[in-house]
Amino acid sequence: MSAIVTGAAAPTTTTATRRPRGGLLRAIMHNRKAMIGAGLLVLFILLAAFPHLFVPWLHGDPRAIGELPLQSPSGKHWLGTTGLGQDVYAELIYSTRESLIIAVVAGLGATILSVIIGVSAAYLGGYADDGLSMLTDIFLVLPTFPLIIVLATYAGKGNLTVIIVVLILTGWSYGARQMRAQALSLRNRDFLESARVRGERSSYIIVVEVLPTMISLIVANFLGAALYSVLTAAGLQFLGLGDPNSLSWGTMLYWAQNQGALVNGLPAWALSPGLAVALLGVSFALLNYAFDEISNPALRPVRRRRARSAS
């Protein structure tokens, strides 16, 4: 009912964009993988936004050097201390922010780039399509991590902006390929034809008509790109190509490796940042797979479908 009311009051475009979004939300709520993934992600967002709530006893810098280095986990230091006596738990919580920012910003950037390149390749067609597709394929095949290492080494180690830019430049190709395929399949649909006949500009058609129909693919792409960014950034920082003074999981891993956390018998210190990376990655991967299931019903778990048809 409310849809009709708003539809009468506002231009038709609002209802057109609202309806699929509501369906998407409902589909997410019904998918267990999506719910677990979303729950994990919300937890990480909370950690990133309000780290002090999770370490209430800490005042000041979480990297403050303490008196007791290389402690095993205890009541006072839940995950032990580093070689400089820093509390691993506090560092871990405060590191969430930078790691999440890298994931989201790089993921968004890569997605935007892949939308631009993929959709324009499909929409322009002809030589432009050939050229852009070739570019996409080349970037898809180039081994990105070695390329990133080369780039990061030359660009001077440690700069967060450099890492993000490099992640965007190397992470867009897979998405662009999918975007192009879907946009191609849309190109000759009637509603686009009618927009063209109405005399709309192509920029208007792409933004208002094409993109909303591709939203689920775009979201899935963002999740994939974010997953890639989390893992790659952590790997880079772990190798020592990040800023050694920054607070992020990859940097923690770097110091744990450098100060021999495992050899000193402190698995909690060596493994917990990696576990955090893994959990954030898992949350993106679960959401991503759930989106696959939502857009392709054949992939959904069979048992639930049976239950639905019985009821």
Binding site: K33, M134, D137, I138, L140, V141, L142, P143, T144, F145, P146, L147, I149, V150, L151, T153, Y154, A155, G156, L227, L231, T232, A234, G235, F238, L239, G240, L241, L253, Q257, L262, V263, G265, P267, A270, L271, G274, L275, V277, A278, G281, V282, F284, A285, L286, Y289, D292, N296, A298, L299, P301, V302, R303, R306
Partner: protein, 332 residues
């Protein structure tokens, strides 16, 4: 035939793109090989004259005063003819090709075998899981392998080290490729040592790489099973094992094969980290060392080599698709 020619064209073009990137990155980035080299040479206590510096730099095609187009052409020629320059890192002056040659067999053995193994096992599990929808395997497979495919390689490596290689119950070694006391040779003891040192790195790569292929194969399989020719085969009463592998599996396998080539770059990225964690003296570890010592020629040669390896695999997969898929043969 046109299909193969087009793929060959793609091969050459991508290789050229990689070389071009390799050429322009050092010339556009702030970090300079000149600087790194001066630092390294003067660290040894010797004073470096500008002339000496220029000679060494010219060795790997870095002549700042020369016309850039000319530089570029000479560089391309040197790359194609295998003159990849000399190391300016810890092994100063050694040709890059020699360094790479000593590390290549280890990486090929470790990464090559495990990657192919992961692909084969993953495809098989994916096929079975997609075939038996709703069965026990299919209930467990997707969630488990979504999780493993999102795990960072280095974290799995660290986990294995802390479980199996550290502490009182260390049953497996955690670094190098064989016991350093042994002399390499074709005898039982040496081979056993190599295998023992390979188990943990191999298991790491296997566990993290396998998930993606299981999931894509399963999803391809599900899509293929809905096709009419599968229903037709069922109606004809063909044994289900033959439908599974010969009808559905064979078709679902094709996109997986091209996916294999595409994702190889990602696997190689992971193995750099794995080799680093295990101090395994392969190309990945060399890559890491080259970054630490800012050994630009070695770094670039390695990048080129990795690209070449991926491209050769892409080409091989293209050939395989060409042989397996009649549509690819007739289309072009």
């Amino acid at each position: 035939m046109r299909y193969l020619l087009r793929r060959l064209g793609f091969f050459v073009l991508t290789l050229w793109a990689a070389m071009t990137l390799n050429f322009f990155i050092p010339r556009m980035m702030p970090g300079s090989p000149e600087e790194a080299l001066r630092e390294r040479l003067s660290k040894g206590g010797s004073v470096v004259t500008a002339d000496q510096l220029r000679t060494v730099l010219a060795e790997f095609g870095f002549e700042p005063d020369k016309n850039i187009v000319l530089q570029y052409l000479e560089y391309l020629k040197a790359m194609v003819t295998g003159h990849w320059g000399v190391s300016i890192g810890s092994s100063l002056g050694v040709p890059v090709t020699t360094l790479i040659g000593s590390a290549l067999p280890w990486t090929l053995g470790l990464v090559g075998i495990t990657t192919i193994l992961a692909f084969a096992i993953g495809t098989l599990i994916g096929t079975i899981s997609g075939w038996r929808r709703g069965g026990l395997i299919d209930g467990v497979v997707p969630p488990v392998f979504i999780v493993t495919s999102a795990l960072p390689y280095f974290w799995v490596a660290l986990l294995f080290i802390s479980l199996f290689a550290i502490g009182d119950h260390a049953i497996l070694p955690n670094d190098f490729n064989y016991d350093q006391g042994l002399t390499p040779g074709f005898n039982g003891e040496f081979i056993f040592s190599v295998l023992k040192h390979g188990i943990l790195p191999a298991a790491t790569i296997l566990i993290t790489a396998i998930g993606g292929w299981i999931l894509t194969m399963r999803n391809n399989m599900i899509t293929t099973l809905a096709e009419d020719y599968v229903r037709m085969a069922r109606a004809k009463g063909i044994p289900s094992r033959r439908i599974m592998f010969g009808y559905a599996g064979r078709n679902a396998f094709l996109p997986n094969l091209s996916g294999f080539a595409m994702s190889l770059g990602f696997v190689i990225s992971g193995t750099i980290l794995v080799e680093y964690v295990f101090n395994y003296p392969g190309l990945g570890y060399m890559f890491y060392n080259a970054t630490v010592s800012t050994d630009y020629p070695l770094l670039q040669a390695l990048f080129l080599l990795v690209t070449l390896a991926v491209l050769i695999c892409v080409l091989l997969c293209d050939f395989a698709v060409f042989l397996l898929d009649p549509r690819a043969r007739t289309k072009g």
